[in-house]
Amino acid sequence: MTLPAITYTKPVRLPWLAIGLSLVGAAIVLFTFSASGYVVTVVGFAAIYAIFVTGLNLFMGYTGQASFGQNAFAALGGYGTAILCTDYNMEPALALLLTMAFSGLVALVVGYPTLRLRGHYLAMATFALGLITYEISIEWASLTQGYMGYSGIPPLRLWRFEAVTEKQQLAVILVLLVLGVFAAYRLRHSRFGRALRAIAGSEAAASALGVNVARYKLLSFMIAAMYGSAAGSLFAHFVGFISPEVFGTSMVVSSFTMLYLGGIGTVAGPLIGAVIVSLLPELLRGLKEWQDVVYILVLLTILIYAPKGIAGFLDRLFRKQEG
């Protein structure tokens, strides 16, 4: 007996988009390592934000839920790292992992009751989480040193390799960023990621197909929290100083701009968004008082002509060309 031969052949085409973006990324990195300290700082912030937004994207982009409080997890990571590495001389890599685990745990405890909420209500609940964390970081001064902030945080170190200079630190951050993006890519293209994206599409249909919606939302929230925590830890090491303002509401605004500008729900979007939102003000610095005006104009133009963000725009462009 012969079975009808049905073979699934995926259209083979070179991932030009991914190749192009990688080249741009490589160019930025090469330029940065040959440039002065200031450029290194700016690109370092961009890379840290890229990690943060990659996590946010898992929850908001893939799973389609709103969180206005991811800064809380960056604060947990930042302060956790500051306290563990400064007061307890803990190995930075270990502190990074411990604070990530702790943030995941907090996300589990906070998310279990709040993720039942939807839309605006979930947004408000998570926003409150960010505000509460902010207040705690100010008021619990014996632990966090309050408004004064926490200084003297040692640089990153991976066992023997101590990243003393800023460029060495940036190298470590970039390695972690690549790991983080790779993980996000694998999560997206899996049974797990498809279930998350199904929830974003229709919770009713997902659960009618056996997807445990509450459980998947919670997992996605926890993973996003761990990314946020890692970003906070890296920031603490990179700058050596943190204060409550660092993890304030402005962080939420910046990360949202990056997410929507870069392309929500895509793997490359958070990277593109973080780079543009971080670098654009620096590139426009020469315009002096017109800097903010031009910055806003550029952002608006992009959002009007690329409503799905730059990644979405590029994706459409490349799809069209390849027919």
Binding site: R186, L187, R191, R194, R197, G201, S207, A208, L209, V211
Partner: protein, 256 residues
């Protein structure tokens, strides 16, 4: 033993009785239809059976076990799969990915499997892609495999919803007005497909407005009006049933 046994199921919303002590049995392998005028409580009945809402009273047995009040995902996990009257596709996913989500309950692996992709996960994905291709071929959507779901024309969205449900290897498939919004030709094709699905041994319950479709393919029909079951039988019995005629056409006294 029937595959599905609905026993005196009542669903009240405040003062409104959407389902009033409805009972019926569906045997394994049957193509069963539920018909009734608009607002008769058909979709509420599906919502109750599939676990989207809890019955106010009564019991529902699936394969001999009570499923009344269980979470929807658990009920789906047992092989009771439904579709929706208003198409509920995962719009940002491709046609292939939509069907792959359908196979969620048949596959394994969570975060760890996604990150580390061990051999069994890669094999599972390959196997899943093959099955997906087979299902898309079955419903005639092979050419659309890589298209985003929301770019499909409406008729094909309906087909995709059925394809996705089939990927879940249902033991019992609940189709909520699958022909809604389809033209005559599309309805004809859909009727043929539902019969093919049923021919594979999948028990089907169909809610339908299109009497022609139901009379043509259903082996047994239950009629619901004002939340109550008013008749049950074969197509011929239903056609001749005075209460059904009254419900659909109105009685002299009701019109007067």
């Amino acid at each position: 033993m029937p595959l599905l046994s609905v026993r005196n199921v009542t669903k009240r919303y405040g003062g409104l009785v959407a389902n009033d002590s409805v009972s019926f049995d569906v045997d394994e392998g049957m193509l069963f239809a539920i018909i009734g005028p608009n607002g008769a409580g058909k979709t509420t009945l599906f919502n109750t059976i599939s676990g989207a809402v809890r019955p106010t009273s009564g019991d529902i047995l699936f394969d001999g076990n009570s499923i009344a009040g269980l979470p929807q995902a658990d009920i789906a996990g047992r092989g009771l799969i439904r579709t929706y009257q208003l198409v509920q596709l995962f719009k940002e996913l491709t046609v292939t990915e939509n069907v792959m989500v359908g196979a969620h309950r048949m596959t394994k692996g969570s975060v760890g499997a996604a990150l580390f992709r061990p051999g069994w996960v890669r094999r599972q994905e390959q196997e899943l892609l093959r099955e997906t291709a087979t299902i898309l071929d079955f419903v005639g959507l092979s050419a659309r495999a890589e298209v985003l779901a929301d770019q499909l024309p409406y008729g094909e969205q309906r087909l995709l919803e059925v394809a996705r449900a089939l990927a879940a290897s249902p033991r019992l498939l609940l189709l909520d007005e699958p022909a809604a919004g389809l033209n005559t030709g599309e309805t004809e094709a859909l009727a043929h497909m539902i019969q093919k699905v049923n021919g594979r041994g999948i028990t089907v319950i169909l809610i339908e407005h299109d009497m022609g479709l139901v009379m043509q393919i259903a082996q047994r029909i239950a009629v619901i009006d004002f939340g109550r079951k008013i008749a049950e039988g074969t197509a011929d019995e239903i056609r001749a049933h005075p209460d059904v005629i009254a419900a659909y056409l109105g009685t002299e006294t009701a019109d007067a």
